[in-house]
């Protein structure tokens, strides 16, 4: 009768050991809305200090996954631990360990930047003695000191985003969740925000989990990327490895007479995808094989050679390209809907 107890305690110990390294862990995490399965049996482990990206088109289940990890949504089945705490049974402790920047803007328009931060301090139980210092600290990180006492409704989209970022990190969370942190922002602001995020992750030793459908964002920021489609992980690795996996270069080609089979059988062609009448070929060293390739394709209308990007990886795994137009409208569009 004693044996199971010992086994249990060994299991318990090994679990706690795993949690020391794995800041986020999910086991068969599933969320269903009626008949629709938004997240399906997800197994995921994120290490401490990692910047982890969830890449996928809209409706892939990224936001649902993050909402479950943030304890906003309850999973239909499966389990998950954030900072070692069960997201269902210990949601209070999970909430204390995390910071969140939502997809939709969520700072208060009729409060000043500083007031928004002060409210967050109160809600997240930041000790009174360090409140003012924390506010000044995060304001300087996101360069908003000068506008801190203006009402948020006078801020630009990028400034709001920065304020939200500041708010998300103010209580020094162990894990920061960012849901589409740069959606709808102009390229320059986007790069600024990337710089802030990687800076923060390094300085504060924070684990960051972000969703995005911007390839550059995933490539530039993330240590590891999970490509999610229809609620499942279809690929997971570092952006570099992912790119290498599908071979270095991409040849985009339009044949006069469609003939995939011949091309597929060429040994240097690692993968073939067809989309809108165009063939996307993954080839290890395209410049070397191009001439030979063209002898097999027959007459062509069009050819383009370029080095592979994460976009090609995505296309390879999902058969679709991520396009910006797939997003649920830009930041400003959503602001207008208010």
């Amino acid at each position: 009768m004693r044996a199971p107890k010992i086994i249990d305690s060994i299991r318990f110990l090994s679990f706690t050991f795993i949690f020391d390294i794995m800041v986020i862990k999910t086991e068969g995490l599933t969320k269903k809305y009626g008949k629709i399965t938004a997240v399906e049996g997800l197994n995921l482990e994120v290490e401490e200090g990692e910047i982890f990206g969830l890449l996928g088109p809209n409706g892939a289940g990224k936001t649902t996954l993050i909402s479950m990890l943030c304890t906003i949504l309850k999973p239909t089945s499966g389990r998950a631990w954030v900072n070692g705490f069960d997201i269902v049974k210990e949601s209070g402790k999970v909430r204390k360990s995390i910071g969140i920047v939502f997809q939709q803007p969520s700072v208060d328009d009729l409060l000043t930047g500083r007031e928004n931060l002060a409210m967050h301090n109160l809600l997240f139980g930041v000790p009174r003695s360090i409140r003012k210092q924390r506010i000044d600290e995060v304001l300087s990180i996101v360069n908003l000191e000068k506008r801190a006492d203006d009402l948020v409704n006078t801020y630009s989209g990028g400034m709001r985003r920065r304020l939200e970022l500041a708010r998300g990190i103010m209580h020094h969370p162990k894990i920061l969740f960012l849901d589409e942190p740069t959606l709808g922002l102009d390229p320059q602001t986007r790069e600024h925000i990337w710089a802030y995020i990687s800076d923060l992750a390094e300085k504060e030793c924070m684990t960051v989990m972000l969703t995005t459908h911007y390839m550059e964002e995933a490539e530039q920021l993330c240590d590891r990327v999970a490509i999610i489609d229809y609620g499942k992980i279809v690929a997971l690795d570092s952006p570099e490895t992912l790119k290498n996996k599908i071979a270095g270069d991409v040849v985009k080609i339009k044949q006069k007479v469609r003939d995939i089979e011949t091309i597929k059988n060429l040994d240097y062609v690692k993968g073939v995808q067809e989309k809108d009448g165009l063939l996307y070929l993954s080839i290890k060293d395209a410049s070397k094989h191009l001439q030979d390739l063209l002898t097999h394709t027959g007459p062509i209308d069009f050819v383009e050679v370029r080095s592979g990007t994460l976009n090609d990886v995505f296309l390879y795994y999902t058969g679709r390209e991520i396009r910006e137009s797939e997003a649920e409208g830009g930041f400003w569009e959503r602001m207008m809907k208010r």
Binding site: I72, I100, Q104, S106, L110, M119
Partner: protein
Amino acid sequence: MSNFFSEIEGIYAVWLREAKIYVREKERLISSVISPLLWIFAFGAGVGSAVNDISGYSYQIFIYPGIAVMSVLFTSLFYGVYIIWDRKLDFLKEVLVAPVSRASVFAGKVLGGATDAMVQGIFLLIIGLFIGVPMTPLVLIQAFFMLLLISIAMVSIGLVIGANLNSPEGFSLVINFVMWPMFFFSGALFPVGNLPSWLEGATYVNPLTYGVDAMRGIILGINHFPIYYDAAIMLLFALLAMGAGVLSFRRM
């Protein structure tokens, strides 16, 4: 103990936000002051000129406690719509993921709504001094707390409705079905004695009747039920409404 304090600070944070927004949205302040003035002066004086005195008071004075309750009722119930806006704006998410209990979030919202309503309530009590309502400092204090109790109950009801609906349009539809019957069947505009029996039944099941009765008892000394009885019923109703509110917020 530290847990207790963090809940209190959570309540304070939510209330502070509501209070600041209220002060900054001038339209809310102005509209909440104008409409009761119209009721007292246009309606009360107008109808009063065609109606005999009731229990020795002019009609304008007789309906004054009822108008005060009405203003608080309207503002309090309509306050529930802000929870829908908060949710649409996603502002609420920030509060909902905070490590404070939903009961505290709800309490903060109730206090915020009650603050709105009581600014109006205090304004009306001051107006009362100028139109000849007999008020002593004790009456003012009692009236203030009675209005506060009514306001807390009604803000809770408004928030329950708001928490369970998704559109502001739906909210105004539902709230109209709650607000007007409550107002008309409360005896705010007429004495509760010698009514036709169907109307009497309607007023007796309406919790607001007891609020109006208490206010009229406190201010004019005319009450149908004992005041402690009125107050007890309002308190019970407020507790029930708050319980329903906490449950609704937990499901949000």
